[in-house]
């Protein structure tokens, strides 16, 4: 255990990597960490991808054709926004209204980019791929990484696996349409919640982290009835902003240590 006052161990990769370990075990740890991150990412990809079935079926039932459903899954590629788009269209709304609802829900992907930018490659084709694959699941898988390599492995494994399975199952859902059983019957909605919780779990070692997570969940539920779908998660992000602003109340030493970790 590190004598670290911050609840942020998983993200402060270089600090964790330099943790008094000698070359040998450190390299083995790193390989195990990358393998673990890849397994987790792949599991998320399969579980989330299956949800593409319901998206494909719902999209065609809402009046989109097969190609429109596929463009949404391949190019928009962010589940919440896609469901919002077809929801508005299916409810008789305009295409502009559907696009606005989708973009409202997509704002949180911008936040993920802020968090991930330190650890992922910039520029070039991989920079564009990185942006396109930035969604709830890839950001969450990256967040469980304990080293920069683990963060990257989790991000790419989850991002690529979700992309492949999501598009594949969108196609199946759009073609098979109403003949597809409701994924809810398989408990896939609970599986998604469990996946998010499992990704959160390793970060809850400190009381402050637990308090932030619980407060965020509370804010999200409290604002759900009054805000359009998707915004409650953004409202909950304000909890992290508020907690982060409290930095002044910490001891100078803790702040300095955090500064070192933050800048790496």
């Amino acid at each position: 255990m590190r004598p670290d006052p911050s609840p942020l161990e998983p993200v402060s990769g270089d600090a964790a990597r330099g943790l008094g370990a000698e070359g040998g075990p450190e390299v083995a740890d790193e390989a195990a960490e990358v393998a673990r991150a890849r397994r987790t990412g792949l599991s998320i990809g399969v579980a989330t991808g299956l949800y593409g079935l319901s998206f494909g079926a719902l999209a065609t039932a809402s009046g989109l054709d097969l190609w429109q459903a596929m463009v949404l899954s391949a190019v928009m590629f962010t589940g919440g926004s896609q469901f919002a788009f077809v929801g508005v269209v299916g409810g008789g709304g305009s295409a502009i209204g559907a696009a606005l609802a989708a973009l409202l829900l997509g704002v949180r992907n911008t936040l993920y980019g802020l968090v991930l930018t330190r650890d992922l490659p910039r520029g070039g084709l991989r920079g564009l791929a990185r942006a396109q694959l930035t969604i709830d699941e890839s950001a969450a898988a990256a967040a469980t990484g304990r080293t920069p390599a683990g963060i990257r492995a989790g991000f790419w494994a989850a991002g690529i696996a979700v992309y492949v399975f999501w598009n594949l199952f969108t196609l199946v859902g759009a073609i098979a349409g109403q003949h597809i059983a409701d994924p809810g019957a398989w408990g896939l909605d609970a599986a998604a919640a469990a996946a998010f919780l499992a990704l959160l779990w390793p970060r809850l070692r400190r009381r402050e982290a637990v308090a932030i997570a619980v407060a965020a969940a509370f804010v999200a539920l409290l604002t759900t009835p009054v805000l359009p779908a998707g915004l409650p998660v953004l409202a909950a992000a304000l909890v992290a902003v508020a907690a982060g602003m409290r930095v002044r109340t910490r001891s100078r030493g803790a702040e300095q240590q955090h500064l070192e970790e933050g800048t790496r």
């Binding site: 936040l111 802020l114 930018t117 930035t134 408990g187 599986a191 919640a193 499992a198 779990w201 930095v247």
Partner: protein, 104 residues
């Protein structure tokens, strides 16, 4: 080109720009202690919110159903240090069984 196609393409491009723009913030800004602290706390808050929204809401309504039992199963499995996949499958199985039995 129909309005629907224009909406699909415009919203899809917009969604990509939203993802891309988060990475364009200058590193110096992110390295400020307070901002660094907020960006490291953000995943905790976002994950906490995503769990709550995924387990207890449907559209803009709070809905408590078999998902809660699935999440409880996940908590037990996490305390028992079960692997990620076991946690996810366990939660799905409990929820699916309850629904098959007509509960929740």
């Amino acid at each position: 080109m129909s309005m629907l196609w224009i909406g699909v393409i415009a919203a899809s491009i917009g969604a990509f720009v939203q993802k891309w723009i988060g990475y364009q913030v200058p590193p110096e800004l992110l390295e400020r202690p307070r901002i660094a602290r907020i960006t490291t706390l953000l995943p905790i808050a976002l994950l906490g919110a995503l769990v709550a929204v995924q387990v207890a809401t449907s559209g803009t309504a709070i809905v408590l159903d078999a998902r809660l039992a699935g999440l409880a199963a996940a908590v037990v499995l996490l305390i028992l240090r079960a692997p990620f996949l076991a946690v996810v499958i366990g939660a799905a199985a409990v929820t699916a069984l309850l629904r098959a039995a007509g509960i929740g």
